[in-house]
Amino acid sequence: MELILDIFTGICFFIGSLSIIIGACGLIKLPDVFSRIHAAGMIDTGGTAFFILGMIFQTGWSLITVKLILIGVFIFFTSPVTSHVTANLARQKNILPLGKKIGKIL
């Protein structure tokens, strides 16, 4: 039983670190601010979700599990706010995104 849980934790950590590495590559590789926010969003959602899931497999049922889930919930609520603030500030400084614009833009 212990072994199975350890294997699950390992898989979760592997997927989480993979998505963090790919996100970090994207932060450097992508062309402009708005595209880089997508890579950061990938780190926020995929990375943290899988890491917290892996840690939950290790703790079992206890108060620490509840606290881990609460960390996940708070990141879940705050990460889109930071992404939106970054994007909105860039737009207010009149930085236009690259690529095509469809229709009228605000």
């Binding site: 994207g26 890579a39 959602t45 609460l70 469809i102």
Partner: protein, 155 residues
């Protein structure tokens, strides 16, 4: 009634976070939660916007769908980053929700799925930046908009 629900939520959070169940700690918890509820009531913060409990019955269903979407778009964002085929596009969508809370949930759900970000909003029109035309089409089909309107349950 709503202040009672808020008090119940706060005291549950206190008990789960503290982990100490002596009389002193619990009475301190009850006191501070009651004080928080008093301050919130005095500031007139306990309404549909401050304590949005009207969509809790449908919340679980929506969250499961949202997690599925986040997982899918995480995979496609990773593919785009590795391939390097970035064709960003910007467009506007119209939100059909009535309350401000539901609009915020819709905008946050768009931002939370990697590949799409809401960059600006005016009343009920959102400006969305997408990494690729596939991500853009996902938003333009209005599937998420319909889901959030259903979650709001006012129509």
């Amino acid at each position: 009634m709503k202040s009672l629900i808020l008090f119940f939520i706060l005291i549950t959070l206190w008990l789960l976070m503290s982990g100490h169940y002596s009389v002193l700690i619990i009475s301190l918890g009850i006191f501070s939660c009651a004080f928080c509820v008093y301050v919130a009531k005095r500031g007139k913060l306990i309404d549909d916007e401050g304590l949005p409990i009207f969509f809790i019955p449908r919340l679980l269903n929506y969250l499961i769908w949202l997690f599925k979407e986040i997982l899918k778009s995480n995979l496609s964002t990773a593919k785009v980053i590795i391939n390097g085929k970035v064709e960003p596009e910007t467009f506007t969508v119209k939100a059909s929700q009535v309350t401000d809370v539901a609009k915020v949930i819709y905008a946050n759900s768009i931002t939370l799925t990697p590949g799409t970000v809401t960059t600006k909003m005016q009343k009920d029109i959102f400006e969305v930046h997408a990494l690729n035309s596939d991500f853009g089409n996902d938003v333009r089909t209005n599937e998420m908009d319909n889901k959030v309107t259903w979650l709001e349950g006012k129509k």
